[in-house]
């Protein structure tokens, strides 16, 4: 049995959940599929999930803590007898899956790009050394694996299944006092197909309004460099790079970003890299597919206009 | 197997610390302070914080008691970041050394305390407008008046002279006695009659403060005299025999930086459809730079080892100082050549290397003086 842990927003499955189902179907040789929906407002989501999977477990445990998620997923594992657990590889996913893997005494394959079954093993491709090395790892079942966002085509609905409620004893230890959700307009950074990132070269936090505008015209997520978040212009959650997020969109548009190694670690696997920088020698141009050598303050407004014209 | 070139774990650690400090705290601000011709005091404070400032002061007096080899290891790293900025702690060690060599226990306690309890610098004042290398011909007068010496005269090219907590000033009680009339006096900052004027318009090493010091009836207590009257000249010469080695270390840092910058540029810059590093003309230059760097480093370490083991080292210090500064000057020169037109521009870091390292051929005894010392060593044997 393969258990897919499905991310959702309380209303619908997230794209990452559909990708995780897609991943599970690629491993069907290892057994039938089941899903589990964990969190709050799980009922409607479970119904949606049942259009994709023959069995859907649901655990209404309230807001996120790693302990609750691990506990609920473990309950689903025990119920289903799953030997493989698949989840999405965000920060939260990669935290609680480690707890779960330890509890299952399972091999853990983190942030995988591709996975295939090989007898009673799973072989996974993933990046290491700050995204600079591609490696193949192999682990014997049981295995817990996380799928890197945007690496698998989202699954289509297929058949219909039943929903089964799990009773989970809620672990204590972490009490959430306050959630500081940045009201994110638009798209999440790790799921976005286009990312527009601004660097220190923009000169001021105000100049970021233009970056947001371009992002909104393109339906893109906004990213920032370490220098920008360190300067307090943008929240840490928008940081792309070694200590921020790793993204792999179809197009990564870097505006006034010089392209330090630490930044590259978060974006160097993007399908197309686009750079605007006044310094023709900036390292970002060495990994760019397209670029404009010019002043971002002049080029960016022109880009916004050109993109608007295209969308009209 | 008596020869051993390996560093101890501790030396490797302090090398790592100094390397990281240079990369994170010095290199990023070097061009800015070079342009402003200003001393980066925040860097001096951080050097103090991590223990890289005045570290040759013995442990008994609140310092770390670093040996010459440690000083050389640190010097190469800091100068890699900026030779001008390295001159600040280096010139402070130059001020400390005469007190180390000739100061009494009481003097060491009194003067070193001022340099260990907070970020503070020392300085060494020998050169005068009318005498650079001819040290015995100094004109600054020290006239005994009861428990004081009354100082009159002018010193010039004094690194840290205006920032220093105290300056070791060499003066004469009687010019006719030539070097036998020289006395070494520690003059504290704020002593009435002592003024420091910053010299502007230096070609390089612009982040270190260079001063003209003017003494007008400046009264210095006799208890601030190092050694006896007449011993000042020997104290100055013995000091320079030691402190020339850190100058060599600084040159190593510049040479290494030049090689690194040139190598990176040569791999990136394309000409005729290939990186210029593919061309022999460039490869030969890089090879020459490494030959210079490696031989100079090996020799500087040797001179440091002679010093640390208490062997005669004046000639070795002179060889290290002159040789390292010359290979470093040549390395900086070739790094500019490899960069072509860009190398001539302020935007790239290589022109500064040349401007900075030129001074290494001049201060603490010009390279011509070093050759005299070396020749004397040959002929006196």
């Amino acid at each position: 049995m393969i258990l897919v842990v499905l991310e959702h927003d309380g209303q619908r499955l997230r794209k990452s959940a559909l990708e995780a189902i897609g991943r599970a179907r690629q491993l069907e040789a290892l057994g039938p599929l089941a899903g589990v929906v964990i969190g709050e407002n799980t009922q409607a989501v479970a119904q949606e999930a049942s259009q994709y999977l023959p069995t859907v477990y649901v655990a209404e445990v309230g807001g996120y803590t790693a302990e609750k998620w691990a506990e609920a997923a473990y309950a689903a594992v025990q119920k289903s007898g799953a030997q493989v657990v698949i989840a999405s590889g965000g920060r939260q996913g990669r935290t609680w899956t480690a707890r779960l893997a330890y509890r299952m005494k399972a091999g853990l394959l983190e942030d995988t790009l591709e996975t295939r079954a090989e007898g009673n093993h799973i072989v996974a491709t993933r990046y290491s050394f700050l995204n600079r090395v591609t490696e193949r790892q192999r682990a014997a079942l049981p295995v817990v694996l996380t799928a890197k966002p945007n690496t698998t085509p989202p699954a289509e609905p297929q058949g219909s299944g039943g929903v089964e409620v799990l009773n989970v004893a809620l672990p204590t230890g972490v009490e959430v006092l306050e959630r500081l959700s940045e009201q994110k307009k638009g798209v999440s950074l790790t799921e976005a197909t286009i990312v527009v990132t601004g660097g220190r070269g923009l000169g001021s936090p105000e100049a970021f309004a233009k970056v947001e505008e371009l992002a909104s015209v393109l339906g893109a997520a906004v990213g920032a460099t370490r220098a920008v978040v360190d300067a307090g212009w943008r929240p840490y959650s928008e940081q792309v790079g070694q200590t921020g997020k790793t993204v792999q969109p179809n197009a990564y548009i870097a505006l006034a970003v010089s392209g330090a190694v630490q930044h590259q670690a978060g974006m160097n696997k993007s399908k197309y890299i686009v750079a605007v920088n006044k310094d023709a020698e900036a390292p970002i141009f060495k990994i760019a597919d397209y670029g404009i050598v010019g002043d971002v303050h002049q080029v960016l407004p022109a880009l916004i206009e050109a993109a608007k014209k295209l969308k009209d | 197997m008596p020869i051993d070139f390996s560093l101890t774990d501790e030396q490797k650690e302090l090398q790592k610390l100094a390397r990281r400090f240079a990369k994170e705290q010095i290199a990023p601000i070097a061009a800015e302070y070079d342009a402003k011709e200003e001393v980066p005091w925040p860097v001096v404070e951080k050097l103090h914080e991590v223990g890289l400032l005045n570290a040759i002061i013995p442990e008994a007096y609140g310092g770390l008691g670093l040996g010459m080899l440690e000083e050389v290891i640190i010097g190469e790293e800091l100068a890699w970041g900026c030779m001008g900025i390295y001159t600040i702690p280096m010139a402070s060690d130059l001020g400390i050394t005469p007190v180390l060599l000739a100061g009494s226990h009481e003097q060491k306690q009194r003067f070193f305390k001022k340099l260990t309890e907070k970020p503070a610098l020392a300085a060494f004042a020998l050169s005068e407008p009318g005498n650079g290398s001819d040290a015995a011909a100094l004109r600054t007068r020290a006239v005994r008046d009861g428990d004081y010496y009354v100082l009159n005269g002018t010193k010039t090219w004094i690194s840290n002279g205006g920032e220093a907590e105290w300056v070791v000033v060499f003066a004469t009680v009687n010019p006719e006695l030539r070097h036998k009339g020289v006395v070494a006096l520690v003059v504290e900052k704020g002593t009435p009659g002592f003024k420091a004027h910053k010299l502007h318009g230096k070609m390089g090493q612009r982040a270190s403060g260079t001063y003209e010091l003017v003494f007008e009836d400046c009264r210095v207590p006799v208890e601030n005299r190092l050694g006896q009257e007449g011993e000042g000249f020997r104290i100055a010469m013995n000091t320079l025999d030691k402190t020339r080695i850190p100058v060599a270390a600084g040159s190593l840092g510049v040479a290494r930086r030049a090689l690194e910058e040139a190598t990176r540029y040569a791999k990136e810059r394309q000409a005729f459809g290939r990186p210029i590093a593919d061309f022999q003309a460039i490869q030969f230059k890089l090879a020459e730079m490494l030959m210079g760097l490696e031989t100079a480093r090996a020799y500087t370490y040797y001179a440091a080892w002679l010093t640390d083991t208490g062997q005669p080292q004046a000639h070795a210090a002179a060889i290290a100082k002159a040789y390292a500064s010359e290979i470093a000057f040549e390395a900086a020169n070739q790094a500019i050549q490899i960069h072509g037109g860009y190398g001539y521009m302020r935007e790239y870091p290589v022109e500064k290397l040349l401007r900075d390292v030129k001074l290494n051929q001049i201060y603490e005894g010009t390279n011509e003086i070093q050759r005299l010392i070396i020749a004397r060593h040959i002929l006196n044997q």
């Binding site: 920060r91 509890r103 942030d111 290491s128 | 650690e13």
Partner: protein, 248 residues
């Protein structure tokens, strides 16, 4: 109180990587204390400075990892424990071995890096927490001890952040913004030599194995447009992205 940091030694992000026989070869790389672990070490030192008690650093890794332990000692940690193991070990197996040492130390809390800069794993902290039966707070940017058995922390989520109250002992992983690590000082380096560093040999079988490592660099198109005329440059770029790359 006792505060404990778990660290690793990794290649500097700027050093060149080589592949030898299908494996990353680190022989020419500069190896450092993992930057994210450095934040963990700094935080542990600050907690000790504020609340007293003892600070301990633990590493699981090859012989050379001792250098990273020495760096942590030079920054101010009191003593070190080194579980000596060569080669790749998955985070679950690492956690199992480390938990044994940590259980015996019985610290108030454990801090480690949010992600390892060599194996790109984020699992060690939470796996360790599971092994110890403690809560975990990952991607921590602020921590404040309320008592010996309770702390408040701010940490990053997938989107946004949250403030939590955590029962101690617990495991925390670091995130950028947590602190600005101090340099190991020269006196610290000299003192570190005399501090206790206990070595424990470890032999464990990894639950996952690395089959092959490669460095695949994408060939980029490198089509650069002169931005002297920003309007026409912008149009040309948008056209290329739309018609050629087909990404917008």
């Amino acid at each position: 109180m006792k505060f404990l940091a778990v660290i690793r030694q990794v290649p500097d992000g700027e050093s060149r990587l080589k592949i030898e026989g299908g494996r990353v070869d680190l022989s020419g790389a500069t190896l450092i204390l993992d930057q994210m672990d450095e934040w963990a070490v700094e935080e542990v030192i600050r907690l000790q400075e504020k609340h007293g008690g003892e600070s301990v650093v633990v590493a699981l890794g090859p012989e050379r990892a001792e250098e990273a332990l020495r760096t942590a000692l030079a920054m101010g940690i009191d003593r070190a424990v080194h579980l000596v193991a060569e080669g790749y070990l998955d985070p679950i197996t690492q956690a199992e071995a480390l938990a044994e040492v940590i259980r015996a130390e019985a610290p108030t809390l454990v801090f480690t890096g949010g992600q390892q800069a060599d194996w790109d794993s984020q699992a060690l902290g939470p796996a360790l927490a599971e092994a110890l039966g403690w809560p975990v707070v990952s991607w921590t940017t602020q921590i404040e001890l309320e008592s010996e058995t309770q702390a408040k922390a701010l940490h990053d989520l997938d989107e946004g952040a949250e403030r939590v109250r955590v029962a101690l002992p617990a495991v925390f992983t670091s995130q950028q913004g947590l602190n600005e690590p101090r340099y190991p000082t020269l006196p610290g380096i000299m003192k570190a030599k005399r501090k206790e560093l206990k070595k424990l040999p470890l032999s464990a079988a990894s639950k996952a194995e690395v089959l092959e490592q490669t460095i695949q660099e994408r060939t980029r198109l490198n089509k650069l447009i002169d931005g002297k005329d920003p309007v026409s440059a912008a149009h040309e770029l948008v056209r290329l992205l739309h018609e050629e790359a087909k990404v917008i």
